[in-house]
Each structure stands twice: as structure tokens, then as C-alpha cells.
């Protein structure tokens, strides 16, 4: 007898529909799984057998063949445990075929028959066309996100079989988790002083500009960078689904609501390999840090310590917003539209201090600067000097009006972004250079400031575009249609004049 059970498997972050076909026939008792299963999928045999026996069902002493169709796609993970178990029960005649019509199943089985959640549930559910879907109770919230299926959460194989046979009702949903609050994010109000840094974060959030924070150790670069996601507007539903899909596929913990509603922050250590950053891996193509930072912030702390090859691997995704990982067995595209924040010291000694006070040799400084390749450096619209906070600022009372909390700043960011949307881009960072003059006009005093800087050699042609774009964002924050002198001067103030960076 045969049975065919709809299910799905994960490839990259996308789900693909799979039919689990089970054939039970007379012959020497054996159990084989065919149809391009990988190691974790082949191990399903032992888990399914143990789970069925633990649930008080007899294991058919017959020849069992499981085929995972279509056989062209590689199947990985344990999500097919549950459909295989159900397929065996149907093919063995324990459960009538009519009882599972219009049902799909997803879940990993424990040896005791418990049903466990699997990574990528959102994408898997999305790939399934059957109207009703059975998942692990812990995945119920996530499985309901596509809002297309009737979701039946189960905790144990016994519950499922009893419900299918009609001997007991479908189990209730697990108790809803407490009302989801936005995860507590670090607040900008905690940053004392640092008028430059605070403002740079606001501008970065409003314009979607990639930021390089340059300053001595202990100046608060990382502290500022970690506050950027809190200034970004919350994700809309489409974006949230995209992000949740990646996080789920990467096996990251999801918030209680099941949906990642706030821009994520990912901060890999500089020991990270290129594969861990851009995604891949030999067996299971896993999204990398740049994809888990999709629609959020990728913080590369001490960016100059990352190997050059790893950093240069970021260039293509930065350009396209998507990274295509090709392996012999499959090619997958991971979404990777993230805002890059890098921090670095001004020179190898890292001391900073007033201009001319550093004692590093010229060669050492240039070597340090060259660790960031020119093309990558070019992506950073904002290169902000961050200095150690002034003693007066550190000792200032906590309730100072200068210390605006994140939500006040975020309010201005939303308004500025709305202006950018009117220009046909999501954020000003995406404004193409050739359209800057058209989309971001400047008044005469503003032009005069830039002309002076260009004539005295304090600004390069490349730097000009960056200043122009950032000035547009600052004008947006101020609600101005035309870029004025104050906006350009503000943009110039957010620029480090580290020669080695301007060299590139």
C-alpha cells in the first residue's frame, strides 16, 4: 500500500514543497529512504521507528520504501520526520488515507514520540499548499504568520494519531505568550556628551548611510553603533516577514510574537570567516551574518582587524542587497540589504588626540588605512570622528535636555525617511550620484562653502558626493527642501579628515 504526504524542505531560506511517498509491501523487513536525502534526513529512519514504537504503535515487519519527491532537490534537516511517520501509518493501514487528505505535516520527532520545532518553519509553511498543516506546538505562532493555513499544533505523535483517528479532539493551542513588547533596545539617552556621535547616528538612521566610526579605544564607538537599530523605523509587515524568514532559517531565536518587528543588529567578531559572514557551508546552506542583518544593522567592530578578503566579500552584497551563494549541489540567494557600521582606531597606536600628536610612523598609518580597500571605503557616506567624552559631559546630570532618548530621535528619522520616499528611494544613501544635483539642489551659500573646501584641497571629488548626500539627509531632518549652508557645514563636521582614509 502507498501513501503520499505533502511536506516541505528548506534550501537556503526558501521552502520547497516535497511529497513524502511511502510504500509498504511484503518482503524482507527493511526501511529505506530514497530521493536525495542528506545525512540528517537519512537518520529519520531511526527516529521515526523509535517514535512510533514509543507511541504504542507497532512497527510493520514489512518492506518500507520512502521516496522524497521531487528527487532533484536535496532534502536536509529533520522536518520530514513527522510526514514520514504519518506516511508509514497510512501505508500500513493504521490511519485511513481519507483522514490525512488536505493535511501537510512538518516536524522533527524525538525518540519518545514528541514533536519538535524545526528551523525555517515560516518558509516551509509558506511552501505548502495543503489547507491544513500540522506542526510542533512550539512552532505554532510562526506557522500562522503566512495566514493561509489552518494550523494544528501537536506536542506528541500519540496526540496526532488519536486526532487523526477521531478518538480524541485536536489538542488546543499552547497558551499564548504574554503580550509582546518591543525588545528593550539600548537607548541613546545613555550616551553622555558625544554631540557628534549622537548626531551622526541620527543622520545615519535617517539617510540609511553606511557609517564608519573612527576614534580611540574607549571613546564609545561601539556604544553608539549599538544604538543605531533603535533609531531606525520599525519594519513593515513585508520586511518583517523577510527578516523572520531568514532568522528562522538560521535557527535564531524569534521574539514571542513570532515576527521580527525591529531592525536586527548583528555584530560578528573580527575572527569571522568569509562563509560565516556571507553565508554557505558545505552541508546545509545557512544564511550568513549579512543576511541575518537583513533590513537591520551589521556592526563590524574593529573593522580594520577583519581579513581583507572577508571585507571585500561584502562589496557585491552591499551593491545588490542580495548574496548568491553557489555550491556544487545548489545555488541559493540570500537577502542581504543591511546598513553597515564599522568602527576603527585612527591609527595603529589608536591614541587619537589632537592632530599631529600621534607618534605612529607614516608607513604604519598608511598600512593601517589600507586594510580597508578603496571600493569598500567608498561605500561609507559617513566617516565620523568619535572622541573620548569630555569630563564635563560625563559628570553632567542625567536628565540634561541634550540627552534625547531614542524615541524622540526616531520620530525625526521617520519624518526624514518620508521625504526620501518622495524622491523615489527608500533612503538617501540610495540616491545615485548622477541625480544628486537634480534631486538634492543646493543654495548659493552652501555651494560657496563646498567651493572653498574644494579649492583649498580640503575636499576631493569623491568626498563631494558623500557630503552632498549626507547634507541632503541633514536637510531632510531639518525639514528643508533646498540644501543650505548649515546642512553642508553639518555634513562637513561629521567627516573625519584622516588623510589615509581620504587617500583611497
Amino acid at each position: 500500500m502507498t501513501a503520499s504526504i505533502p511536506a516541505a524542505t528548506l534550501l537556503g531560506v526558501d521552502g520547497h514543497a516535497v511529497d513524502v511517498e511511502v510504500h509498504v509491501s511484503n518482503g524482507l523487513p527493511c526501511f529505506t529512504v530514497v530521493g536525495l536525502p542528506d545525512a540528517s534526513c537519512r537518520e529519520a529512519r531511526d527516529r521515526v521507528r523509535a517514535a512510533l514504537l514509543s507511541s504504542g504503535r507497532a512497527w510493520p515487519q514489512r518492506r518500507i520504501t520512502v521516496n522524497l519527491a521531487p528527487s532533484s532537490i536535496r532534502k536536509g534537516g529533520a522536518a520530514l520526520d513527522l510526514p514520514i511517520a504519518v506516511g508509514v501509518l497510512v501505508a500500513d493501514g493504521v490511519v485511513p488515507a481519507e483522514a490525512v487528505r488536505d493535511f501537510a505535516f512538518l516536524g522533527e520527532l524525538g525518540l519518545d514520540g514528541s514533536v519538535r520545532p524545526v528551523p525555517g518553519t515560516l518558509s516551509l509553511v509558506d511552501a505548502v499548499t495543503a489547507p491544513t498543516i500540522v506542526v510542533a506546538a512550539a512552532s505554532a505562532v510562526e506557522a500562522r504568520l503566512p495566514r493561509r493555513h489552518r494550523v494544528r499544533p501537536v506536542e506528541h505523535l500519540t496526540e496526532l494519531v488519536d486526532a487523526l483517528l477521531g478518538t480524541s479532539p485536536w489538542p488546543d493551542d499552547p497558551p499564548p505568550s504574554p503580550v509582546s513588547l518591543p525588545a528593550p533596545m539600548p537607548d541613546l539617552a545613555d550616551v553622555r556628551g558625544q554631540p557628534h556621535g549622537r548626531w551622526a547616528m541620527e543622520v545615519a538612521a535617517a539617510g540609511g548611510h553606511h557609517v564608519l566610526l573612527v576614534g580611540p579605544p574607549g571613546a564609545g564607538k561601539t556604544m553608539l553603533a549599538r544604538r543605531l537599530p533603535g533609531l531606525l523605523p520599525p519594519l513593515d509587515r513585508v520586511e518583517a516577514l523577510e527578516v523572520t524568514r531568514v532568522h528562522s532559517a538560521a535557527g535564531l531565536a524569534l521574539p514571542p510574537s513570532g515576527l521580527v518587528e525591529w531592525p536586527p543588529l548583528r555584530a560578528p567578531h573580527h575572527g569571522a570567516s568569509a562563509v560565516s559572514l556571507i553565508g554557505g557551508g558545505s552541508g546545509w546552506l545557512r544564511p550568513g551574518e549579512i543576511s541575518t542583518a537583513h533590513r537591520g544593522v551589521l556592526l563590524l567592530d574593529e573593522i580594520a582587524e577583519f581579513p581583507a578578503a572577508v571585507l571585500d566579500a561584502l562589496r557585491q552584497p552591499l551593491e545588490e542587497g542580495v548574496v548568491r551563494v553557489a555550491r556544487a549541489k545548489a545555488t541559493v540567494a540570500f537577502p542581504a540589504r543591511f546598513q553597515l557600521v564599522g568602527t576603527m582606531n585612527p591609527c595603529p597606536c589608536g591614541d587619537g588626540g589632537p592632530p599631529g600628536s600621534c607618534r605612529c610612523s607614516e608607513q604604519a598609518r598608511q598600512r593601517y588605512g589600507r586594510r580597508l580597500s578603496g571600493p569598500l571605503l567608498d561605500r561609507f557616506d559617513l566617516r565620523v570622528p568619535v572622541m573620548r567624552p569630555l569630563v564635563e559631559d560625563l559628570l553632567a546630570p542625567h536628565a540634561s535636555p541634550d540627552l534625547e532618548p531614542s524615541r524622540v530621535v526616531a520620530g525625526r528619522v521617520v519624518e526624514a525617511r518620508a521625504r526620501a520616499t518622495g524622491r523615489g528611494v527608500r533612503a538617501n544613501a540610495e540616491l545615485p550620484s548622477e541625480l544628486l544635483d537634480l534631486l538634492a539642489p543646493m543654495d548659493a551659500p552652501a555651494t560657496a562653502v563646498l567651493e572653498f573646501k574644494l579649492r583649498t584641497g580640503a575636499l576631493s571629488a569623491r568626498g563631494l558626493h558623500r557630503i552632498h548626500r549626507v547634507a541632503r539627509t541633514i536637510a531632510d531632518l531639518g525639514g528643508a527642501d533646498v540644501i543650505g549652508e548649515e546642512h553642508v557645514c553639518g555634513a562637513l563636521e561629521l567627516r573625519t579628515d584622516i588623510d589615509l582614509l581620504e587617500q583611497a
Binding site: P355, D393, D499
Partner: protein, 386 residues
């Protein structure tokens, strides 16, 4: 340019491997460069007594290297290639050799140059100092460079980063006297790379000199030797900014050895970049309060030309500052003469970042402050006469 049949051979001798100033001096002094070159090619250079004594124990090894290199070297073609790109060479004793160096205790035996060698004339002042200069040091170097050049004084420096570059930039802003640069690498090896444009401008307007043959890398040991040529060319040496252990102190030692007056620009006692210059002042060097002090040392007092605004405008001394609006006045008072952080300025003035940035940029255009990268400092020369 000189038309000298011996110069190609002198240049070829200077390009031999394992060459040092002492060895080259002995070779150039032994006979005419052409005769010495033939001796080297024939493997007979050790028979020249003055050369043999300089080479000492390593004579056999060195002379065989020279001979094998010389046999592969095409003197005429190399010379023609060098002349094609506008470079040439003179040798000690040959025509066109700069007179100030001819009288030097350690004259460079062969000098490669680009530009016009006639520009190497008296009066000349060397402006030297640290590569890691402060804004103050750069300002002083640029100002002195321009005012000296306006007064017809040749500015000699080393085209290094920091003070040297600023001095040349200043000198190029005037036209009365073209600058002279003495570099440590070959003329085709631009170092530091950042000064490639300045390097070209000096070669076009004035003259670039070096002892090193074409293709020579800027090896660290060449710079102290280069400094002796700077001291030899200049009538006075002005140290603008230097640490007590800086390379400029070598130039000072060479100047002392040649009896050239050394002047030093006073600096803040809080600045590490002025420890050397302040030490020089304590040791009796003449302080430089403005360009007149340098002109007096050159016995040229009164040759100073009236100040005119240079095309840059900003790097200019402001003798009679224009009246400022009240905000600018407040902001200006909040900026120190040493680098001041922008957040410190905000704290002192109570202004917002963008308001302060606008005022600071306006003050920069007026030449009253300068800055960038979160630092600002007061700027402008306090003129004694004004």
C-alpha cells in the same frame, strides 16, 4: 642645461652598486669621470691609488661587482633616456656645479637634478621640521615659505610630509624666488607619494635635487645625508617644528658644522612637536617671530615685500581683521590657538552643532580658524607691525 661630455659618465659611476658617498668622492676625484669609467669597465679601478685606499679590504669584491655592472651598462643610452624626461646631472668639479656646494666640506660628488639648476643661488633659507606637524607648524612653514620667496629668498626644503611640504607650498605661492627641494630617493621615485603633485610643481617652478641615482628607493639612511645637502645649500636654517630627537636635528648639526646660523620657531611648551625647537632656543638659536627675523639673519632686512593676498585666501595672515558678527565673536573666543574639540566649543558657546559648524566654516573662509575632523584651532599670524 649644461652641455658636459663628462656628466654621463659621472651619472653612470653614481649608479654603480655598493656605491657610497666616500667611494664616489674617491672615484670622481681620481681622474676625469670618463677615464674612471673606462678603468672600471676594464677592471682596473683598483690600480687608482686613491680608490684602492677607500675600498680597503673589500676592494676585490666591490671592484668586480662594479666591473660586471659597468660592462652591461650603456652610458650613452641611459643618459639620453634621462635627458628625455628632463633630468640631468652635474659632478663635483664639472661645469654647472652649484657654487654653495662646491665650497662644502662634504660636497655631493654627483648631483641629479630636474628643473633649472641656476635657481640654486644665494640667498637661500632652509625651512625644515617634523613630518607629523601640527596645524600651527604647517601655518608657520607656509607663511614663512611664501614671505621668504616674495622677498627673493630661495626656500630650500626636503619635500617631506608636514613642515617641508607646507614650506614648499608657501614658496610656490610667490614668484620672486623659485623653491629648491632636496630629496632622498631617485628623481623617478616620488616619495612620499602624497606629494606627487607638489613634487612636480617644484620641479617645474624651481629645481629638484638628489644625490641618489634614478630608481633609488627612499632608504632611511639616505635622509640624514640628504639633510647635509640642505644645510650646505642654505645660508640660514630655520627649524619650524621638531621633536628633540627629530631628523631635523641632523640638519641643525650639519648647519652648525658649516657655521650656518640656525633659527627656531618658538612653540607651545605643551606640544611635543616643539620640544626640539624650544630646546634650540634655550641653547641660543635665534627665535623666529616673523619673517623679518629670518631676513635679518640673511642680512636682507627691509627686503620684505608688501603683503598681498594669495589665491587661496585662507592661509593668509590677517593684519586688520574684519569686524565679526556677535555669534562669530563668541565662537572665535571659544577656539584656542591649539587644536580644540568641536564638542568643547559647543560646551563653551552653548550653540547647537549645526549653528556652530556654520559659524566655524565662515570663520575658516575669513582665515580666522582652521579645522576639520572634529578639531578646530585659531589661525592667522599676529603681525608685530600691525
Amino acid at each position: 642645461m649644461t652641455d658636459d661630455s663628462q656628466a654621463p659618465y659621472a651619472a653612470a659611476l653614481a649608479s654603480l652598486p655598493l656605491m657610497t658617498v666616500r667611494r664616489l668622492t674617491a672615484l670622481i676625484g681620481a681622474a676625469s669621470p670618463e677615464a674612471v669609467w673606462r678603468a672600471v669597465s676594464a677592471g682596473e679601478v683598483r690600480s687608482l691609488p686613491s680608490v684602492a685606499s677607500v675600498l680597503g679590504a673589500s676592494a676585490r669584491e666591490v671592484s668586480s661587482r662594479w666591473t660586471s655592472t659597468a660592462r652591461r651598462h650603456d652610458v650613452v643610452a641611459t643618459w639620453a633616456a634621462m635627458r628625455d624626461v628632463g633630468r640631468s646631472a652635474v659632478w663635483f668639479g664639472g661645469p654647472g656645479y652649484p657654487p654653495p656646494l662646491a665650497a662644502d666640506p662634504e660636497p655631493p660628488p654627483v648631483l641629479f637634478f630636474e628643473g633649472c639648476l641656476e635657481h640654486v643661488t644665494a640667498p637661500a633659507a632652509a625651512l625644515v621640521g617634523t613630518r607629523a606637524a601640527t596645524g600651527y607648524g604647517r601655518d608657520v612653514a607656509r607663511l614663512l615659505g611664501r614671505q621668504l620667496a616674495e622677498a627673493g629668498v630661495v626656500v630650500v626644503s626636503g619635500l617631506a610630509l608636514g613642515i617641508d611640504g607646507a614650506a614648499h607650498e608657501g614658496a610656490l605661492a610667490a614668484t620672486a624666488a623659485p623653491p629648491t627641494a632636496v630629496v632622498g630617493s631617485g628623481l623617478d621615485v616620488v616619495y612620499p607619494r602624497r606629494h606627487a603633485r607638489l613634487w612636480q610643481r617644484v620641479a617645474t617652478a624651481g629645481v629638484l635635487l638628489t644625490e641618489a641615482p634614478p630608481g633609488t628607493a627612499p632608504e632611511p639612511w639616505r635622509f640624514p645625508l640628504r639633510n647635509r645637502i640642505i644645510a650646505g645649500l642654505a645660508d640660514v636654517v630655520v627649524v619650524v617644528e621638531s621633536r628633540a630627537t627629530g631628523g631635523s636635528m641632523h640638519t641643525v648639526d650639519h648647519a652648525h658644522a658649516r657655521g650656518r646660523p640656525v633659527l627656531a620657531v618658538p612653540g607651545s611648551i605643551m606640544s611635543g612637536q616643539s620640544t626640539g625647537t624650544n630646546q634650540l632656543l634655550a641653547d641660543g638659536a635665534t627665535p623666529v617671530r616673523d619673517v623679518d627675523d629670518v631676513l635679518v639673519a640673511l642680512s636682507l632686512a627691509g627686503r620684505r615685500l608688501p603683503t598681498e593676498r594669495s589665491p587661496e585666501g585662507a592661509v593668509e595672515s590677517v593684519t586688520r581683521p574684519a569686524a565679526l558678527d556677535p555669534t562669530a565673536e563668541i565662537v572665535l573666543r571659544a577656539v584656542d590657538w591649539t587644536p580644540t574639540r568641536t564638542d568643547e566649543i559647543l560646551r563653551r558657546t552653548g550653540l547647537s552643532l549645526s549653528a556652530a559648524a556654520v559659524t566655524l566654516n565662515r570663520l575658516e573662509v575669513l582665515g580666522r580658524v582652521r579645522g576639520g575632523g572634529g578639531w578646530w584651532e585659531r589661525h592667522g599670524h599676529a603681525d608685530r607691525s600691525g
